[in-house]
Point group: C2
Chain length 187, copies 2
């Protein structure tokens, strides 16, 4: 072969960071080509469905990554819920590189191509909120309060990401995570 083939993982990394940083519309094939080091035609070899297929696959991968890094901890029912929530927060923070990166799902929903990914993101978000709610419920909180706390935590994280980008300052996200962590301690 002419060049040492990049692994699918390496290609995906380039695609991932591009979609994350500039959104779906902003990720042109030229940009994706440069980020991966592959020519446009080679990208189509790996993803016959083109840009749409790349975005769909990367969205799936990013959901899996966020699950693995953060939400997975919520299901460890042998550990106390406070510890699960702390690990969740820490994992979420790692997922967005302490506020320097953004959540791909948020980029896609708030970017232009909303309708394409809306259904998948809605379903995944609902599932994640259920997991958060159940974790709060296992501290002894009522269903209603658990529901409210889960939504409050989730919106705070995404709000912090959004404002961190508006201020171009990741510290906003880090401060918010610290605040949320303290609130978890006193549950």
């Amino acid at each position: 072969m002419a060049k040492p083939n990049l692994t699918k993982l390496a290609v995906s990394k380039g695609l991932y960071s591009t979609f994350r940083n500039v959104g779906y519309d902003g990720a042109t094939l030229v940009a994706l080509s440069q980020a991966t080091g592959l020519g446009k035609a080679s990208l189509y070899y790996h993803f016959p469905g083109g840009k749409r297929e790349m975005a769909e696959e990367l969205l799936r991968a990013s959901v899996a990554e966020l699950n693995q890094m953060a939400f997975r901890h919520l299901a460890k029912k042998k550990k106390p819920p406070q510890e699960r929530l702390q690990r969740f927060l820490s994992g979420f923070s790692d997922y967005v590189s302490q506020g320097q990166e953004n959540c791909l799902a948020a980029m896609f929903v708030l970017g232009g191509e909303r309708s394409t990914f809306q259904d998948a993101i809605k379903q995944q978000t609902e599932s994640w909120l259920v997991q958060l709610r159940e974790t709060y419920a296992s501290t002894g909180l009522s269903d209603k309060k658990s529901h409210r706390k889960a939504l409050e935590l989730y919106t705070s994280l995404y709000g912090a990401l959004c404002v961190a980008r508006m201020l171009d300052d990741a510290k906003v996200f880090q401060q918010t995570v610290n605040r949320l962590g303290k609130a978890v301690v006193s549950l």
Copy 2:
């Protein structure tokens, strides 16, 4: 003249709703043309700088609108800070149509064309956070706590908007505004 000329205000309304709904990249000239009822060439008559100029002018207009509808209330120093914050919350909610619409600045920052508007949005956001912080300070809170409360309120609003879009459900925003309103009462 051939047709009754649309007022600049009417044209701006069409541009505004388009940019708000689909972001900068998603707002093609065809879409902007349809939304305003003006041909593409006519749009260039009103905005010689093209799409960029339209977006810049509409961003300025949206900032002015949000000021008028929400942040303006924070400066009414004759009223108690709790009431100022309530009016702010109510105005912000109106600005985004109770969670059905989004904030244009957030769309632009999270969409593709981040760099273009980043500076203006960063400056405006900092100014708004100062106004919120000063309002909290006038309830007797320390500088540090005022700073934290202001950031907490602001991130909660934008997080609620973001999650409302992820869930495609404006109720998430409305619930959050209700929750924030109750927190203001007990200041």
